[in-house]
């Protein structure tokens, strides 16, 4: 293994020396939030497959824990390794600014993938998000509405109080509930935060049920939250009274869907994020794609992709809904 690392290193070094030769030696790295996060396995799959088909070198690295600063030494190391593209799922919207700026000043293309540094967009070249996050709130409200007959009390069980994506979606949910007469009989009674920890999410869910005995539905737009909420409902045996939905991973939710605890939930294809990121990055580097708002490009399997405001790119237009019929088709 030692030898292999040495050879790889040498090879990489040589490649680095001849960057002008470019494309087949391009190095892409994706830095996840933390290791052991099942979500990133799927994204990584997209990166790996795309790099295989297009011919580039790919590596996935991630710190052991998801603290705000834990990704910094990894970015430093990748700069030092002379990679061409850094994709990153940022652990903090602002703690990475300085080091990302360093990376870009070295000519590295910086993409945030599956999460953005909202408010600090100038420190990355583009962001690749699974869907247009503006529609997530709306779709989720529709989803829970359809499950409870558009009538009754609902609550939101989110991740952390400051989670930027979730907060954006929650704003969307509130606006949708207010604006659309279809949801007039639904009332959002509480928004609570489980900090993406199973224990905390569970106690928050239990507290919701205690505080609001007439609760009809819960939206948990976070994978940890929806699993915890589903488990509470399952163990209390109240699936017919309280509908749980939100954003979840099929692999984590399969059991709950099959036993009827959860009728339906949504997500997108993380795989496609990786797939798209590689195609976009290579295109930008070889000049075939212009990284400008409004320009379009073709990606195999995904069709025509448009670069939206803030250099934001989405892999799909709508959320995918998982239910008992289709859940076995997904393996992530």
């Amino acid at each position: 293994m030692f030898k292999k690392a040495l050879v790889l290193g040498l090879a990489a070094g040589l490649a680095f020396a001849s960057t002008a030769m470019a494309q087949d030696a391009l190095k892409i790295v994706y830095i996840g939030k933390n290791t052991g996060n099942p979500y990133f396995d799927s994204i990584t799959g997209g990166f790996v497959d795309a790099c295989e088909s297009l011919g580039c070198e790919f590596e996935f690295v991630a710190p052991a824990t998801a603290e705000a600063t834990s990704q910094i030494p990894f970015i430093e190391a990748q700069i030092q390794r002379g990679v061409n593209v850094i994709g990153i799922a940022p652990n903090s919207p602002d703690a990475l600014n300085q080091v990302l700026e360093d990376a870009r000043s070295k000519g590295i293309l910086v993409l945030t993938v599956n999460g953005d540094i909202t408010g600090n967009e100038q420190y990355r070249d583009a962001t690749i998000l699974p869907v247009n996050f503006d529609i997530v709130g709306r779709d989720q409200v529709e989803m829970v509405g359809s499950l409870i007959g558009y009538e009754g009390e609902i609550a939101i069980l989110s991740a952390t109080t400051e989670a930027p994506d979730q907060n954006k979606w929650i704003v969307g949910m509130n606006e949708t509930l207010k604006a659309d007469a279809k949801y007039a009989k639904m009332s959002l009674v509480a928004t609570v935060y489980g900090d993406d920890q199973p224990e905390k999410s569970t106690t928050e869910m239990e507290a919701l049920l205690s505080n609001f005995p007439n609760l009809k539905g819960v939206i948990a737009p976070t994978t940890v939250g929806i699993a915890a909420a589903a488990q509470v409902v399952q163990s209390r045996g109240i699936a017919d009274k309280v509908a749980v939905t939100g954003l979840g991973l099929p692999s984590e939710m399969r059991d709950f869907v099959k036993d009827g605890t959860v009728k339906a939930f949504q997500l997108w294809s993380p795989y496609n994020e990786g797939w798209l990121a590689v195609h976009f990055a290579l295109g930008v580097i070889d000049g075939s794609i212009k990284n400008e708002v409004g320009s379009t490009f073709e990606v195999p399997n995904l069709g025509t992709i448009t670069i939206n405001a803030n250099n934001s790119i989405n892999t799909q237009a709508e959320l995918t809904t998982f239910n008992a019929e289709n859940i076995d088709e997904f393996d992530f």
Partner: protein
């Protein structure tokens, strides 16, 4: 004559009173806190901490501390999780759903034994050794799992059922297991020779070898028990939460457990600690955890509360000891 005894009695009574007062206070604001259903919620929050606290109490009684329990929990849960994930066979038979229970306990015991060996062989302070193994064992969790989470679908449903199905009164198995462990710890600590030797060792480590107590062996046993109980907590984590994650599973466990144990009256100077006190300490923390979301207090204050509670318990412990010394002086004078 028995003032000290009364103080210790008061200690446990004191925690019980605190629990009651706390619950009444919360109940005054949120009446639903005083329902049987809420009791179930509180109890469901406690089993892992209670099991870990039993081991930690013994360690603290023996005048040591074990910071690595969260990581031992992680490794032992992960080993079982991997066996479930890859459909291990036992001597030609598919691993039964309960197979993870003995496996996790044994893995935990071995890891704890590792701590104990480093501590006794090289005469190292437990806190530094377990600070090291806290990191080392966490790394092991990543390595054996290849940094992959064991998902819900791989955990046998019977195992998950332990946290959901109930033999009686709607109280899940897992709570009975926790109280069973507490009861077993009580019998071990109070009614076996070696249990008493742990208290003797912590009470006066210098005298212990003079009285024929095999200090090294007892120390090894204590750390092995701490590991084994962490292992049990590990497999029950898989049961309770339905997954095993290399990064999250068990992280921060040590602080909850140490907080519960010191609230329960175990003395960091060794020799003092009761199962009842520890159980009450666990329940008090459980009440606090359950009450916070009900009252709408952000969960971010939980760590601060734990920290304050540890320090307050230390100061109380000291003033109790001071009184003891004062009464000793009076007796001498």
């Amino acid at each position: 004559m028995t003032t000290l005894r009364k103080i210790f009695l008061r200690r446990e009574a004191g925690i019980a009173v605190m629990i009651v007062l706390f619950c009444l206070a919360v109940g005054a604001v949120k009446p639903q806190f005083l329902t049987l259903d809420q009791l179930r919620i509180i109890l469901l929050l406690t089993p892992l901490v209670m099991i870990g606290a039993m081991g930690q109490m013994l360690v603290i009684v023996a005048r040591h501390v074990d910071l690595s329990i969260g990581s031992m929990l992680g490794v032992s849960a992960m080993v079982s999780g991997m066996l479930y994930r890859y459909d291990a066979t036992w001597f030609g038979v598919d691993m039964p759903w309960w197979g993870g229970i003995p496996i996790s306990i044994v893995v935990g015991a071995l890891l704890g034994l590792g701590n104990g060996l480093l501590i006794t062989l090289f005469r190292l302070p437990a806190i530094i050794v377990t600070l090291g193994t806290l990191s080392l064992y966490r790394g092991l969790t990543f390595i054996i799992s290849n940094a992959k989470q064991i998902d819900r679908q791989w955990i046998p449903s019977e195992l998950k059922g332990l946290a959901q199905t109930s033999p009686i009164m709607g109280i899940p198995w897992i709570i009975f297991i926790a109280f069973g462990v507490a009861l077993a710890t009580y019998f071990f600590a109070m009614h076996t020779r070696v249990g008493r030797q742990i208290f003797a060792l912590g009470s006066n480590p210098v005298a212990a070898p003079l009285r024929g107590i095999k200090v090294n062996q007892v120390t090894l046993l204590v750390f092995a028990i701490s590991g084994a109980l962490s292992g049990l907590a590990g497999i029950l984590y898989a049961s309770r939460w339905g997954f095993v994650n290399p990064s999250n599973t068990g992280s921060g466990f040590e602080f909850q457990v140490i907080a519960a144990v010191v609230i329960g009256g175990a003395s960091i100077n060794g020799g003092v600690g009761t199962v009842l006190g520890t159980v009450l300490g666990v329940l008090l923390l459980g009440c606090v955890s359950a009450a916070l979301p009900l009252l709408g207090i952000p969960g971010t204050s939980q760590a601060a509360i734990y920290g304050a509670v540890i320090l307050i318990a230390l100061v109380i412990d000291r003033s109790v000891r001071q009184q003891g010394i004062a009464s000793l002086k009076r007796a001498r004078a």
